[in-house]
Symmetry: C2
Subunit: 346 residues, 2 copies
C-alpha cells in the first residue's frame, strides 16, 4: 500500500526529502550549510547582486487536482520562479520550498514533486537548500522562494521602457489559458493530456536562458515575464515605466494550436493571445535600432520565435491596439486578479 | 463598512501593502530593487555569509482564529523566522511574505499583519522586499522567507555539540504550550487574553540578539532555537551532533506562571517544561569552562535568565533525565509532528 504522510510523519518525510535532494540535486561549494539546521547558509559571489522571488501555487486555484502529475506540479512551480529570476536577467542559485500538505498526501507524490523541482534546477546547477513542511487541512499549497544572482549593474527592470522603444515578445502567449480551458471543459481530463495547449499549461517552459542573454547583451531597456497575460504584463511595464504602447494586431503571434480551437462566444483569437494566461514568455523593449541585435542574440541560443509587436508611446495615450483595418482601440490591461470575481475561475 | 479583499482586488491590496511598507518600513541603500518587479534585488556585504530560512503558519494549525489579533499574528510569524536567523548567530536583513488569503479577509487585517511584520523587522533595520498574495479557499496561511547575514566563519550550527559540553537554555520553555492550552480550554478566549502564558503563546519574544552575541563571542559550540519543544530541539542537537545529553531535573527552569496552573492528568511540571512548545528560547552548548563567559555575555545585553541544565554525553547513552531522587530515566525526544496523530492538536 502506498504510504501517506500520516504513516511516516513530518520528520520521516523531511528525512526522505533530504535523502532525495542529496542524491539527485546539485552540490555547491558555496553552500556553507544546506537543509537541516535553523537556516541555510551560503557565500555570495563578489561582483554580483542577489535576486529573490517567491511564488505560491494553491490547489484548485493554480493547478487542477487530477489533471497534473506531482512531478509536473513540481516542475511548473519551479518554472514560475525560474522565469521571474530570468526576467531580471539573473541565474537561479538556491531554492527554499514550503509545502502545505494534507495527512492523506502520498509520500510518493511529495517525492515526485521534489524530483520535478530538481529537474528544473539542475540545468542551472541550482540547489534546494531549505524549506518547510506544514499540515494543511484543506488546500495543498507549494510556496517556493528562489534566490538568484546577476552581475552588478546588469539587472533589467520592468520600469525602464522608453518612448520610441520597440516592443517584442517571445513565443506564443495565450496558449496556457487555452490549455486550462480544454482541461476545464473535459470532464475526465485524460484525452487532453497530450494536447499541445494542455502542455503549455501543465508543462510550461521558462525563458530564463533567453532573459539572461538579453540582460548581458545590453541591448534591451526593460523586460517582464508573462504570468498575468500578455496585456496584463504589458500593462505592468506601462504603469511602472510611465509609458503607453501601440500594438499592431497583425503582428501578434498566433500559435497554430491556438488557431485550431473553437473560440469562446464573443472572443477573437487576439483576445486569447492578449488575455489572462501564464505562459512565462518574455516581453522585451529595446531601442528600435537594436531589434536586429536582440533577434540575433536570441536566435543564437534558442529556437524560440521573437516577434516585434508594437512600440512605446507616451503614457497619456495608454495601450492602443491598431486593428487589421487600421482603426485604433484603447485597451485596458487587466491581469489575473485572484480576488476579483470577474477574473477567470478554475 | 470594512473593506474585504474582494472589494479592492489583488492589485489594490498590493498597492496598499507597498504604500504601508514604504511609509513604515526601513529603507536600505543595499536594496537595488524592492517590491514590485519580477524579483527583488540587493547587494550582499563583503565578508558575510547569507542565511535563509522560511516558516509557515496555517490557520487552525499554528494559530487560533479569533484568539489572536492580526497584528499579533504578523509579529508572531516574523518572530519565528527572526528566531531562526538569530539561532545561527545572524542578523535579519530582508523578508519576503507569501500570504494565502480568503476573498472575505478584511483589508484592515492584512494591513495590521504587515504592521506586525514591520514592528519586528525595524529594530534590526531589516526590510520587506517582496512577497506574493494568493487566494486560498479555506485556510489562511502566512509563509515568510527571511534572509540574514553572519560574519564569515561565525555561524553556529546545531550539529557541533561535543561530549563534555555544558547544556544551557534561555528563559522558561513550556510556557507557550501552556498558554495554548489555556486558550483551548477557554470557550470565549477573552478572559485569558492578558494571561502571561497566553502572552507567551500569542506574543512570543525571540532571542536573536542573544543568539548573535553568543555567535560573535566564540564561546559556544552549538545552538538551536526551541520551536519543537525543549526536548524535541535538544533531540535535534543530539541527532545532528551524534551525542547524548544528561539533564538534571532539579536544574530545569520552571516559570512561576507555569507553576500556578492546574497540571493535566498524569503530567508533571517537568513534562510541561520539556514538552512540545514553541517558545523561541535558545538551547546552547559550550565547553564547561566557558559557562561563566556565556552567562556574562548574555547578562550584559539581556535580562533573560540562562540556566545550565545538563551536559553532553556519548550518543550511545541517549538523552537521560536525572530525577530529583537521583534515578535516571531515558527520554525519547519527540517534537511537534504535524502529521502524527498523537501530537497535540490545536
Amino acid at each position: 500500500m502506498s504510504k501517506t504522510l500520516a504513516d511516516i510523519g513530518e520528520f520521516g518525510l523531511i528525512h526522505r526529502i533530504q535523502t532525495l535532494v542529496a542524491k539527485r540535486g546539485v552540490q555547491s561549494p558555496d553552500i556553507t550549510l544546506g537543509m537541516g539546521d535553523d537556516a541555510a547558509a551560503f557565500r555570495p559571489h563578489e561582483g554580483y547582486e542577489l535576486l529573490v522571488t517567491c511564488d505560491t501555487m494553491v490547489e484548485g486555484r493554480h493547478f487542477l487536482k487530477g489533471a497534473i502529475t506531482a512531478r509536473e506540479l513540481g516542475k511548473r512551480a519551479m518554472v514560475m520562479n525560474i522565469s521571474d529570476i530570468g526576467a531580471m536577467g539573473g541565474r537561479p542559485l538556491y531554492a527554499l520550498v514550503s509545502l502545505g500538505l494534507r495527512a492523506d498526501t502520498l509520500v510518493g507524490d511529495v517525492e515526485e514533486m521534489y524530483q520535478g523541482f530538481i529537474e528544473e534546477l539542475n540545468p542551472f546547477q541550482a540547489a534546494i537548500i531549505g524549506g518547510n513542511i506544514t499540515k494543511s487541512e484543506h488546500d495543498l499549497f507549494v510556496d517556493i522562494t528562489l534566490i538568484g544572482e546577476v552581475e552588478r549593474g546588469a539587472l533589467v527592470r520592468r520600469s525602464t521602457a522608453r518612448e520610441g522603444d520597440a516592443v517584442l515578445v517571445t513565443g506564443y502567449p495565450g496558449q496556457a489559458a487555452a490549455g486550462l480551458q480544454l482541461l476545464l471543459n473535459a470532464k475526465g481530463h485524460e484525452p487532453f493530456q497530450d494536447h499541445p495547449l494542455v502542455n503549455a499549461y501543465n508543462r510550461p517552459d521558462h525563458r530564463a536562458k533567453e532573459g539572461r542573454a538579453m540582460a548581458l547583451s545590453g541591448y534591451i531597456t526593460s523586460m517582464i515575464d508573462i504570468s498575468d497575460g500578455f496585456l496584463g504584463d504589458l500593462g505592468h511595464i506601462c504603469e511602472e515605466s510611465h509609458v503607453g504602447v501601440e500594438l499592431l494586431q497583425k503582428r501578434l503571434p498566433v500559435s497554430e494550436h491556438l488557431n485550431q480551437i473553437t473560440l469562446p462566444p464573443g472572443k477573437t483569437i487576439y483576445d486569447l493571445v492578449m488575455g489572462n494566461s501564464d505562459d512565462y514568455e518574455l516581453i522585451i523593449t529595446c531601442r528600435p535600432q537594436n531589434v536586429g541585435d536582440v533577434r540575433s542574440v536570441i536566435s543564437s541560443i534558442s529556437p524560440v520565435p521573437i516577434t516585434e509587436v508594437g512600440r512605446v508611446i507616451p503614457q497619456s495615450e495608454g495601450i492602443q491596439l491598431v486593428l487589421l483595418d487600421g482603426t485604433k482601440m484603447n485597451m485596458i490591461p487587466k491581469g489575473w486578479d485572484h480576488f476579483n470575481e470577474s477574473s477567470p475561475k478554475q
